[in-house]
């Protein structure tokens, strides 16, 4: 283990969390990420390969589509590992790139089922909230930034954006969730 103390994207040693009524927004500092792109003559990687707009959770990882022949692999709780190296072994001959600290991840959970997540989505990103159901993921604009939005479950949503803009993303998420709490 390195003898350096990592910092979370929001600048604190520990991830931030905030609750707004039935919604909770939490910084997910332990999410490891690696991108995988198929090379011309590469074999099929030992990974689930979801289609456009899809997110699949497997045993130890989750994968979502980010472009033609390109995916992002998530490793929950594995940010401290050399995750890309591990994924490269499962994607021999593919282009694998470490992306763990390329993004700041925020997990949003609802205590009241899908409806608060749908209402939040409407205020966050231009996706068809009613159709953006569990197992879907997309890249979209968000407050002049580009983010990945993943519907992990009816009551769970994740937003992944530039790590350097974590503060801006946090502000936008918590402002919006806070306003929903007021109008709920």
């Amino acid at each position: 283990m390195p003898d350096l103390q990592p910092t979370c994207a929001l600048g604190a040693p520990k991830p931030k969390t905030a609750r707004f009524g039935v919604l909770t927004v939490t910084e997910n500092a332990n999410l490891a990420l690696a991108s995988v792109a198929l090379r011309r003559d590469a074999g099929a990687p030992d990974l689930p390969l979801p289609g456009p707009g899809e997110w699949i959770e497997a045993e130890d990882i989750a994968v979502f589509w980010i472009g033609p022949d390109q995916w992002m692999v998530e490793g929950h709780g594995r940010a401290a590992d050399d995750f890309a190296h591990a994924i490269a072994h499962r994607a021999l001959g593919c282009s694998v790139t470490e992306q763990t600290d390329g993004f700041a991840a925020f997990e949003i959970t609802s205590d009241a089922g899908a409806e608060p997540i749908r209402a939040l989505l409407e205020k966050l990103v231009n996706v068809e909230a009613h159709c953006f159901t569990a197992g879907q993921a997309t890249r979209t604009g968000f407050h002049h930034m580009s983010v990945f939005v993943i519907r992990r479950a009816d009551d769970r949503l994740a937003v992944l954006g530039m790590r350097s803009a974590a503060g801006t993303i946090w502000h936008a998420l918590t402002e919006t969730a806070g306003r929903l709490e007021v109008t709920a």
Binding site: L4, D41, G102, H130, A166, T176, R179
Partner: protein
Amino acid sequence: MTRLSGGLIDRSRSLSFTFDGKSYTGHAGDTLASALLANGVRLMGRSFKYHRPRGVFSAGSEEPNALVELRSGARQEPNTRATVAELFDGLDARSQNRIGSLSFDLMAVNDLFSPFLTAGFYYKTFMWPRAFWEKLYEPAIRRAAGLGSLTHRPDPDGYDAGYLHCDLLVIGGGAAGLAAALTAARTGARVILADEDFRLGGRLLAESNPLEMPAPEWIAGIEAEFASLPNLRVMRRTTVWGAFDHGIYGAVERVSDHLAEPGKRVRQTLWRITARRAILASGATERHIPFANNDRPGIMLAGALRAYANRWAVSPAQRVAIFTSNDDGHRTALDLAAKGVEIAAVIDARTDILSQGSYRTIAGAQVTGSRGRLGLRRIQVTQGGTSEWLDCGALGIAGGWNPNLHLASHHRGRPQWNEAAQAFLAQEGFVPGLTIAGAAAGQGSTARALASGAEAARAALEALGITAGLPDLPQAEDASLNQYPLWHVPGQDRAWVDFQNDVTVKDIKLAHQENMRPVEHLKRWTTLGMATDQGKTSNVTALAVMAELTGQSINQTGTTIFRPPYTPVSLSVLGGGDTGPHFRPRRLTPTHDWATSQGAIFVEVGQWMRAQYFPRVGETHWRQTVDREVLSTRKGVGICDVTTLGKIDVQGGDAGEFLDRVYANAMKSLKVGMVRYGLMLREDGFAWDDGTCARLAETHYVVTTTTANAGTIYRHMEFCRQCLWPELDVQLISTTDAWAQLSVAGPNARKLLERVVDGFDLSNETFPFMACANLTICGGLRARLFRISFSGELAYEIAVPARYGNALMARLIEKGADLGATPYGTEALGVMRIEKGHAAGNELNGQTTAQMLGMGRMVSTKKDSIGAVMSRRDGMVAERRVLVGLQPVDPTDPVVAGSHLFTKGAVQDTANDQGWITSACFSPHVGSAIGLGYLENGAERMGEVITAANPLQKQSVMLRVVSAHFVDPEGVRLRA
């Protein structure tokens, strides 16, 4: 005036409000306009140009006259239409555009000068003396413009934005809209019904008996069903204000405009609605008939009089007259009479018209004048050459109805005149997926509106493959208008067409005389339709008057172009609430927190906040700090966060070939474990961006870009990959944020790094200049090391996962204490790169070439690359300006970037211009200011003294032309 009977106000709830400081009482369900009328207030504003007294003219969003300032302090909002301002307890409103009181406006003197303020006066006056324009005319015009005033204080309210998607968007909640929404929502399709009013129903609320049952009863039943349909979203207080491409509509929901203070709620929300189909059921706006002095408070649209009586139970006067050219005016008279209002007369321009009630009807007559300084007292009626004066406190004018076709025309649709309807009708198809129903489509009776709304919804859903049945609709009135075309009453006195911008029939005649006859010219010359109401009550009338003058048909005259917004939209809500520090994304470097703890001063670099310099106790000027950082780095070791440079991971079997094509110089030949400086050209051959290209493995490169071009270059490379050369096996992905990258520069750089790497051999032999490697540091942390130098010193850039940026920075400073380790910011970085003669954004400004940079030979002739051929154009090759160093002859003289260079003694003009200074700084190494610049034949002029002219600051400085490398020109240090 006291209240009438009935109405849809809640008399059990009284609301207090003030207007111009005086307290009044209204009821829940009132608008400010209806409440003021109920309190006997007819005078509500002053006109824009002549400051004529004005009262409420309409009962909806088309209102041209009753504009007020709402609220006070930072929440003060000018130009709010009293007709749509929902009354709330504590509402504070003031009249605007006046000096003095509303009843005694000193600016009313303008009315006396009206002969000088005619059409086109903007273009004819204020021409001389010229000097008066800036000091007098423009400030005076600006003060007069805009009607209401701003407080210039920050808006304390929150605004936000959102996105909605639906199968069908129904715009308007009147008879047609309700029928459409009901038809569609019953199928289970996703439907949005948006209406600008706070209550659904539209004109159903304004009529006495439009349906077989009381209209509020039918609406309540519909609303109950709506509430049970989860697939239907009803958006009250929501104005759909623009139709955009791809089925996207802009809408503003006034979330808390009807509350005294929004509390934690947003004030308004900007919605972007993506609809597969849409129905425009926006109703129609009544038009008036201009006659002499037709602008007095108390003169209003007949349909508005009826709405005030039926919905808000109020009449502006006890004795009312009606001037009509259709049957609708009689309807108003009947409704008012039924409420106990005395009808002075119905003046109908048509002949052979019989009275429909027990009041006087004057057929074949016209209203030819009015009296009453601050409110209508009497009207002049002329019939067959005989005139009489009738006493009345209000006059309703019924000149026909104009369909609200704005949104259907937002894609440059040109409405067509329909003789039968005596109105412009929108051409369907201009906004793909949008159909029109109800009065907006010329289907003005309630029965036809209901039927057309339902049918429009059925047809729209059918196009989406959804079958809808038509609902049972109530029996409804189906009266015809029997419109007689009367566009204005001829006369010598001023007859207003556009009330808000004070445009009269005379002005239109003048525009005609002055050949401003096309409608677009008419609009600009007279300012007709250019006010906040965008001429909703005036445009068609003006077109008809112009048609009459030119002898063309109304259709030939045509309309002006319709553009969003349909009604005014606040800039705050368009901004979506992102203001101040949240105006745009703010990106922080991985060492931001550490730098903050060290008291760094930050500077915005695009979206990034970078540490500019790190002041220490006792340093009183930023130059002291920067000089220290530079000298410490050159003497010991300096550390700077350079994460912001773009990093792009390039992998694949053809990665080398791909990079050979995007870089001017060769990259395929780069050895694994080495780095090469790279230059990219634009297609036109000019220099675009520079950076480094590191080959980490046979098929794996990492390239860096400048901070400014990080996104642009990545996008360009993706374009090349996807569109230009899809046959290449290459994959790209940005890794800018993933790695914290620190520059470690200075003679002690190696010693410092040796203290953190895990047994990695940093010797010159193993890891020479321009080497790169993957390694671990600090007990196993994966890292990348590049031996590259931007400062001219022995230097490295070390990259670790971004989460370790703060910790690594702290560790390097701690470990290097005895080596003189010093953090440095972008200022010192800039100074050192100028001292070394490295190009940056100032030199790569889009107008310079590789040859100018002294890198002409880097553009390889052994391979093709983007921009290579174009860089060999005659004009490019003939360019003689090259990058040189510049040093003042007198060391105390300044060197100012942007100064132009001239041969000593030459006349300083464009013909003799020989280049310019691109970058300048004070060099603590040299001991004077220095600069870089492009100079004609610069390479051959070393040692020559030239002149740098800075006419803006009246400076002229003697500079000596020197090598651009002020530090270590032989490159010994960086290879040490």
